[in-house]
């Protein structure tokens, strides 16, 4: 039995002079992966007053702690930095194949520091022989689809990559990073918080990962890992959500649930039920894809059993987007008054190609609709506005800075954002636990940071929602740090013994579930500490006032959880 921790390395790259340092991993960091790593690094190395797109803000990339070894749904990738959108700490994570390949190369993290002296965009290529830079002139200004074709032409079909589009290149606060999926298509999104703009500030258009010739990530105790992963897989296979519901209907299965609760954001979060919900729900997507010969059950990362992703195709069977999912579907669908699946798929594709966060852009355009810039339901108008973002017009730049800025510029009172970040597609007045998470999460209004619907509380009631959010915020940190897909939670629930045992088999440790929680709570406290030092005090842990005053007509409720309770939230 070896110690795989000894062979890990951190790549620290100074972008001012392109010096690449390969460092061994300090003992204290060996059990930090994914979000726990990125947030620890940012909170302990970054001046909270630093400019998000300046030399003092590093861009940190870290695979989850379990990534790279053979098991389902454990290869998620985290990136972190100070966010240009929230001005606080940010971690964004995605599926795909980058984390898998980084882990196979023995890379614990990549840290891009400082900023380049010249503003030429480059490609950072990382392989078994080390890291190199190449000019990206031919990809500059290109969308992520065309960029991906260029990357494969240059480096071969088997590489993984992270790439930005015009949104990131122009420094938009909604600039996202597109990540290759299992098949090498630009399909997964590090969407939230402007991480694409931070990557661009380092002069990097794409990061290409080539793991050819590697033997795979080692296991400290193969028998222990195999036993644990077999139990984990059994759990995934025996749970209907992870063996059937997500597999068939994907994340869009959530549409019916939130609509029934009056929690489906509709027409700029003015109500929570949408008459066209059945036209865009999971069942309709599944049937449409099946009829047209697409793939309703696609795995975004190697070895995934859940396969919640899809390849949505047009009437001729040609792919429109990989994958059409709940958040984009709702933020541009009900939130903008649109119920046409094919058009929503096209809009999703445009966002991905520009490389912008479709949650924040959907929010921004919903706000623009409320302001009267275009009517709700105006599909052509939405596409025209997205083209303005791509072309970097003044209006496009306003929208591209996100919903919070757009709302201020256009004079709209109902701005569904916290800490500058637009709420994900859950109405906080009728799903109050999510409202607590939106308000108090270190990330801004982020649903994955503390997903409370599974807790089974009456979501219209205020009782016990703060505790539920706190519990799920810790749970979210555990998953984000291990690199485990949140959808596996439907099967694993809070049985962290399974996950701890996989970690122990992978790394030769003897962690217990309380150890995982302890690591997660420490990471959350580091994030909160960074935000406080950056000026994001308790007064920013609030929902916009209008959600506390204006009744959601679909549920008859307001967000009425007292501010004092939000301030007392303790991670448990």
């Amino acid at each position: 039995m070896g110690d795989p921790k000894r062979d890990l390395k951190i790549l620290r790259i100074k972008m001012s002079n392109k010096i690449i340092l390969e460092e061994t991993v300090p003992e204290a960091l060996t059990l930090l992966g994914g979000r726990a790593f990125t947030s620890h690094w940012v909170s302990s190395h970054v001046d909270p007053a630093s400019a998000p797109l300046g030399r003092g803000n590093p861009f940190v990339i870290a695979p989850g702690l379990l990534a790279g070894v053979p098991a389902s749904s454990i290869h998620r990738l985290s990136v972190g930095a100070k966010s240009p959108l929230t001005n606080g700490i940010k971690e964004s994570n995605s599926g795909g194949n980058v984390a898998y390949k980084l882990a196979r190369l023995g890379i614990k993290a990549i840290i891009l520091e400082e900023i380049p002296s010249e503003k030429d965009f480059e490609i950072l290529r990382i392989g078994p022989q080390g890291a190199t830079f190449e000019l990206a002139s031919d990809l500059l200004g290109k969308g992520t689809e065309e960029s991906a074709v260029g990357i494969h032409a240059r480096y071969g079909k088997d590489v993984a990559f992270m790439v930005i589009g015009p949104g990131g290149e122009k420094g938009l606060s909604t600039g996202a990073i597109i990540v290759s999926d299992r098949d090498g298509f630009p399909a997964r999104i590090l969407g939230r918080g402007g991480m694409g703009a931070v990557m661009a500030s380092k002069g990097i258009k794409a990061i290409v990962i080539d793991d050819s010739g590697t033997k795979g990530a080692p296991l400290a105790d193969e028998g222990r890992f195999k036993k644990a992963s077999q139990n984990y897989h059994k759990c995934l296979k025996e749970t209907p959500q992870t063996s059937e519901i997500y597999t068939k209907y994907g994340t869009a299965a959530m549409v019916d649930v939130t609509n029934e609760l009056g929690g489906l954001p509709t027409k700029n979060f003015s109500c929570g039920r949408f008459v066209g919900a059945s036209k865009i729900n999971g069942k309709t997507i599944y049937q449409t894809i099946l009829e047209r010969g697409g793939d309703p059950s696609h795995a975004c990362m190697p070895g995934c059993l859940i396969r919640s992703s899809n390849i949505y195709v047009d009437k001729g069977g040609q792919p429109i987007v990989r994958s059409l999912e709940y958040e984009t579907l709702v933020m541009f669908g009900p939130n903008c008054g649109i119920d046409d699946l094919d058009e929503l798929a096209q809009i999703n594709r445009i966002c991905n190609d520009i490389g912008v966060d479709s949650i924040d852009l959907g929010g921004a355009i919903g706000i623009a609709m409320e302001a009267g810039l275009l009517p709700f339901g105006d599909i052509a108008g939405v596409k025209r506005l997205l083209e303005e973002v791509r072309l970097d017009t003044l209006l496009g730049r306003v929208l591209g800075q996100g919903g919070a800025i757009t709302g201020k510029v256009l004079g709209v009172r109902r701005i569904p954002a916290v800490k500058g970040q637009v709420m994900a597609a859950y109405e906080p007045r009728s799903i109050k636990g999510h409202g607590v998470t939106f308000a108090t999460s270190t990330m801004g209004a982020d649903h994955t940071a503390g997903f409370t619907i599974r807790e089974g509380l009456d979501s219209h009631q205020k009782e016990r929602q703060v505790a539920a959010s706190a519990r799920m915020q810790v749970n979210g940190m555990i998953y984000d740090s291990l690199g485990v897909c949140l959808f596996a939670h439907a099967a694993v629930r809070n049985n962290h013994e399974l996950l701890a045992e996989m970690v122990n088999g992978r790394w030769g440790t003897d962690l217990t579930p309380p150890d995982l929680r302890k690591i997660a709570i420490k990471a959350l406290e580091e994030e909160r500490g960074f935000n406080r030092r950056a000026g994001l005090g308790p007064s920013t842990d609030r929902l916009p006032e209008i959600f506390c005053e204006e009744v959601n007509p679909s549920s008859g409720t307001v967000f009425d959880i007292p501010q004092s309770e939000l301030d007392e939230l303790k991670y448990i």
């Binding site: 959500q241 519901i245 299965a253 649930v257 509380l457 219209h460």
Partner: protein, 70 residues
């Protein structure tokens, strides 16, 4: 005794079940397969119901799987 129609949106197979007027949510859940008993959200008239709540003929009741994210 009046019957209550319950929409079950758990899979392609089961679309609806019937239950007696006044039955508790907990009893209703016994009608589902064992894999679902602690694994669903029961929404009565737009609100998440508790196990001890009783349901009535005029109620709109929908049962969904508990999902972990979206």
């Amino acid at each position: 005794m009046a019957l209550v129609r319950v929409e079950v949106k758990l899979s392609d197979k089961a679309e609806s079940i019937e239950a007696e007027e006044g039955v508790s949510v907990e009893s209703l859940l016994q009608k589902l397969g064992p894999q679902w008993r602690n694994n669903v959200i029961v929404i009565v008239n737009g609100r998440v119901a508790k196990a001890e709540d009783s349901i009535h003929a005029s109620d709109r009741i929908v049962i969904f799987p508990l999902l972990a994210g979206g």
